[in-house]
Symmetry: C2
Subunit: 391 residues, 2 copies
């Protein structure tokens, strides 16, 4: 993260970036949610990197994970806030801003500039809190589609993301196959297993157990810090692997001996406490509740991803990581099997990172090698000779 | 659990059992803890099954896991409370009460009759709470040794247990090899990995985050229910495997459709909430803090288990389970490698259960086949021809 200064003098520096806002479905408009309710006006915070070509054929939509945001690359002026996928997005990087126009927006339900439970409800003048309607991954993607319409982009070159970002990529493939040329779902699943639901449920219970949560109406009083912090600690364990924790912490002590008490004796304890406390400063507790539930509901298994018999002209590359036990490789392989059964042009790679689920954020070189090539082939009309022309 | 009625008419019924109490280190006595402090008087709750032979050579000490207790087998009169390892202990079972005298005591620091943080501090007339001194697995075993002395048992035929019970078995092997003929550590480790510490730390933080914990002084007000419940939910996820959760719950809903809210939609959510709420009724929050920390401190790696060059005449059988990701098989294999390097008579078996860490409590037939044979060989002087005679 401290390489920004170097990057500024470096051709791979994405440059200073700015978060922008797109608002739609205000008075007269309508945005219908999957559960039948309507919501509006809706604002999506987004950033773009690179330039949209005249024929608008070079646009890629990057999809963020649970606690991500629109700030995927570069830095904001006067801030030291490198984007969450900066190693992957920029000149000559995997998502090459010399060639492609990259868009990343904060999800509906989020808390980083897009409309979510912490936004002001125009009907009451107060934050929505639990008055915010329930949202799904399909709703997130439907909102993104409005943003893509706003840009006048008929067909995205690619949709790509890890974890919940991968779910959104699959949702694009399912809902709008005619609007994308390719998709890269990374470290993700067609649906949450009961173990994945269980971790999310404990995260939610931890937040809701904190009296400071006040049934969601904490905005005047401050976040339910303790519950949210414990929730995030649980998350962090699942993001790392047994091996990466061993490499990073082993049983090293914070001080030279045991406290014989309940202080953080081990480095790993101090790390988790730090990450928990830090999260409280940057992420809204209610957004965490809404988004984890959206993830748990997500289910594109079987015919829901692509109905049997439907002809899909999208190239897909699925990526998973060997030590990712939160989204194990077998779940990526289920995606691959399903796509191949539906005759979709699909390729798969399991990378041998030790970083567990975090690998999709960390392992830039290996992913770059795969993605750069895949995008080039997609962009340069690899499919011209095939049935893509029929689109 | 509903087979008790049958069992009562069955030869494998252990019978009605009674919890007894042994108190030591009162005024004048002294029980020194590993951290240098003294504690007393100390009471251990214990149960016994079967009869001690005249030469006291048939005694087996069963060691319980984190939230276990002295009630390992049988039922208490008028209660429907089958012991936690009843399938393993009784006539003709793995620990055959027709042959052996089985002892199981609640650990020091526990809350099921043995002295722990919820016990009355004789100096204040109030529960110790956090005035209770820090205890270690070595302290637990030292207290058990007093109980074994009290019985006049010079040498235990076997010490056996799973998870933290396995750690105690290893501690017996390390501290009192001359007092045991054999040890069976099951689903355990020489030391906690950072991932294991991390789960325990989140469990502790969840309890301590609850304002109802009141820095440990909650006894007049009731348990920190919400924090303790969330803590136990985390534990339960780690006890099960991805596969066993899939088999037990899959994505089945509690009701016929989604709530589009934060109710328990999925069966797995309802199950975890139930297990969490239930735990609050039966286990003291401070004991959970003390015991998890004791487990995290436990470390018998390298020369700490058996000093290089020391000649140990104990038979050891190590058992692990393929889908146990909380105490993965590689940790059991580390125990085996270390013991074999120290020329200890060691055998190892990885069982193919789908039940994850819970398997040691569930997989009775497979464990029985191994343990019954191992105990018979140990009891019937299998080692007579070997160097055991030299003891």
């Amino acid at each position: 993260m401290n390489i920004i200064k170097n990057e500024k003098n470096n051709s791979s520096f994405t440059g200073f970036v700015e978060t922008k806002y797109f608002t739609f479905a205000g008075t007269g408009g309508e945005f219908k949610l999957e559960n039948g309710k309507t919501l509006g006006p809706i604002t999506l915070a987004y950033e773009t990197y690179g330039s949209l070509s005249k024929d608008k054929s070079n646009a890629i939509l990057i999809l963020h994970a649970l606690s991500g945001d629109a700030h995927a690359a570069g830095v904001h002026e006067n801030l030291n806030d490198t984007g969450w996928w900066d190693e992957m997005i920029g000149p000559d990087k995997a998502f090459d801003t010399n060639k492609y126009f990259i868009i990343c927006s904060n999800v509906l339900g989020g808390c980083k500039g897009s409309t979510g439970p912490s936004s002001i409800n125009p009907k009451t003048g107060k934050p929505y809190a639990l008055e915010f309607p329930f949202i799904t991954v399909a709703d997130m993607v439907n909102a993104q589609r409005r943003l893509i319409d706003h840009f006048g982009i008929e067909k995205l070159l690619c949709v790509a993301g890890g974890s919940m970002g991968g779910m959104q990529a699959l949702q694009w493939l399912s809902a709008y196959p005619e609007r994308i040329k390719s998709a890269i779902p990374i470290a993700t699943a067609l649906k949450h297993s009961p173990q994945q639901i269980a971790f999310n449920e404990v995260i939610r219970q931890s937040i809701m157990a904190d009296p400071a949560w006040r049934d969601g109406n904490y905005y005047e009083h401050g976040q339910p810090e303790k519950g949210l912090s414990v929730a995030r600690m649980i998350g962090h364990i699942t993001f790392m692997s047994d091996q990466s924790m061993e490499e990073k912490f082993s049983r090293r002590l914070k001080n030279d001996k045991f406290s014989f008490g309940f202080d953080a004796d081990f480095e790993v304890e101090g790390y988790l406490r730090y990450r928990g406390a830090n999260f409280v400063k940057r992420f809204d507790a209610n957004s965490y509740l809404y988004i984890t539930k959206a993830i748990d509901y997500f289910d594109l298994s079987g015919d829901k991803l692509i109905p049997n018999g439907k002809d899909i002209h999208v190239r897909v590359m699925v990526i998973s990581f060997k030590t990712d036990w939160l989204y194990p490789s077998y779940q990526s392989q289920e995606i691959v099997r399903l796509l191949k059964r539906r005759r979709v042009d699909t390729t798969y790679c399991e990378l041998t990172s030790t970083y567990g689920h975090d690998a999709f954020l960390i392992e830039a070189p290996e992913q770059t090698a795969l993605i750069k090539h895949f995008l080039d082939k997609t962009f340069n009309g690899y499919l011209v000779a095939g049935h893509d022309k029929s689109n």
